[in-house]
Symmetry: C2
Subunit: 412 residues, 2 copies
Amino acid sequence: MNIVGIISEYNPFHNGHLHQITEIKKLFKNNIKVICLLSSDFVQRGEPALLDKYARAQMAISNGADMVLEYPTLFCCASAESYADNAVYILNNIGIIDYISYGFKSSDNDNVKKISSLLAYESNEYKEILKAELSKGLSFPKARQHALIKLLNKSDTDIYKLSETLKSSNDILAIEYEKALIRQKSDILTVPIERTGSDYNDPYMKENFSSATAIRKYLLSEKVINNKDLADNLPPSTLKILEDYSEVKHFGSMYLFENLIFYSVISKSNDELKKYPLVNEGIENLLKNNVFSCSSVNDFINTCVNKRYPATRIQRLLIHILLGMNKGITYKYKRPGYIRVLACRNKSLLSLISSKSSLPVITSLKKSYDDFDSDLKTLIEFENKACDIYNIVCLKDKSQYLNEFSVKPMFD
Amino acid sequence: MNIVGIISEYNPFHNGHLHQITEIKKLFKNNIKVICLLSSDFVQRGEPALLDKYARAQMAISNGADMVLEYPTLFCCASAESYADNAVYILNNIGIIDYISYGFKSSDNDNVKKISSLLAYESNEYKEILKAELSKGLSFPKARQHALIKLLNKSDTDIYKLSETLKSSNDILAIEYEKALIRQKSDILTVPIERTGSDYNDPYMKENFSSATAIRKYLLSEKVINNKDLADNLPPSTLKILEDYSEVKHFGSMYLFENLIFYSVISKSNDELKKYPLVNEGIENLLKNNVFSCSSVNDFINTCVNKRYPATRIQRLLIHILLGMNKGITYKYKRPGYIRVLACRNKSLLSLISSKSSLPVITSLKKSYDDFDSDLKTLIEFENKACDIYNIVCLKDKSQYLNEFSVKPMFD
């Protein structure tokens, strides 16, 4: 029996995600269990998830996952590098993962391996080229892209394919997963599955394999779930969950959190803003000046963008401010301290993970919280606060709120 | 030439307010100037004003006021006692006020005088009775009411009338004004004007003299301005201002600020909540527990109410938390440090106040800010922040935002 881990957001779960799980099962002739590590209510790029973590966990279980673990907000709402690094750390430390499967887009997965081993232990030559590129005022991802092309240009690498790899959001994550596995000296092997259809940032709806970005955009603007466009792109179980969910909660979006985001910037002094991880080089002045001249939160983000600060960085920084994710907590807690099971349909898998994991495994949050030391308590309190903020805004009837301690994982 | 001060909210300016100004002018045979001290964007009872301070200042000027001064949020959003005390302090210190006019409701204004002189210098007997009443678990206003009735019962006071006086919101403020004048040893005399129509908390619309509470309720639910009910209760200029204003901003209400209020409680730890002035005796636990079981902010306030914490106190406390009005700033700044002119239609009055006031008079906020010391700068920064929070939520198009420094007072 093999166990495959998937690092996921399922925001929402679509045909592309189903394709990945189906392909893995085919590859291992069904002799496999799938464990998904799922981002919590605020996701990597720094925005509220479309649906809460429980609804997305249910989507995964309905489509072939055997277990879903929570990737806490404090760690998943971070740069691609840090996101991948801590995700690999968790999958490494639960002690039962044989493979990590990721989607990739470029026609040549060799590039992913080549780049990741180069980045895992940065050579002096690479560091120097990178430094020179950064000094031109480029953003870190851009500078890294240029440095890698310059470096690999000397080898027999196909530079066109290399550029494509470095431009694809999926492949950037793939590189980060491979890199993290090398750095953490992990025994876990990887199972790259080629993506069908759109890259995950593609904003346009396609016939069958639209990106999650396109599907979110569609859902947030159309607000109709029962239609052909969505039915062609989402498994039936996802559609059903979306329908039920939309009775109870608004879909999460930056727009829905707009006033809160503006408020959380306005209500803080420049000195208070500087307590947040990505706020430096005078970006706090930019935030305070621009917050008042913008008609929307997207407008706000765009006016703050410059070469050094791409939109995703600004957006993530705003979510950090919203959630109180300041330097105090992020610098103190570099690694996740526990694993919480959000859903599981296999009791033996639950016993296995509980016996093998080097991190404490949570099935009853309240019970674990009471047993934990103050550091782990702090981590749980932060996660609960983030989810509370998410829920109080998304709930259509606030009195329907459920305390995180009261939500039980789904055990089929 | 006499100068009369009116401590006001004009939330919004209605026929009752016009009646007061008209009566004063009659009384002084028009040989008079009227200066209104107007609450800023968050008012005494702890809620966002229906319209911003500039629109309400314009209403006052359109209806006979000669000058409108700002009563800063930090001081006006406070208990009736503190509200009256600092308002009298300002009017006392601008050095040109001969009279303060207030509305009263009870048929016997003598009671107001009698009670206020009793409260200005509390006798030991009074203190003991009050203490006994408080120990029964009564709220402060209730305990005070009981103590005063017990004390004055011994004299020849008409106890029925006394109870009526102590029950009327208007008369409670009247008592506080008189008390503050005594305590501050002020030479200012008072001009009580009997209120026509409703007491100011009366929630129902009347034919001509509805309360501001009833008018706000009507405007917030009906959202139609051009109708007979309102036309019967508001001067035509108020109607016009309401119409123009509603094109640009939403009317302020607790409902409009609901998510922000919930967020500002949820995002703070119990220890952070305890940094706020009225948060003690475990009320922080009550807030944190109840915020999650309520369908609305009004529901939230009501679930937190107990004998010791009436709704107004809870509501004010929530606004303090929303605005970051913590013990740090409220304990440090006990008195307003400047006077800002919001509107004026009389240049000689402006010269007079500038020459006589013992507090610096602001006509250009930016200029004064640059000249001020760090304490006064802090006060202005706090006021600006409160208005920014108000405006960013109320503005229909956030890009229409105007920095407080850019808003010029209206000089006709």
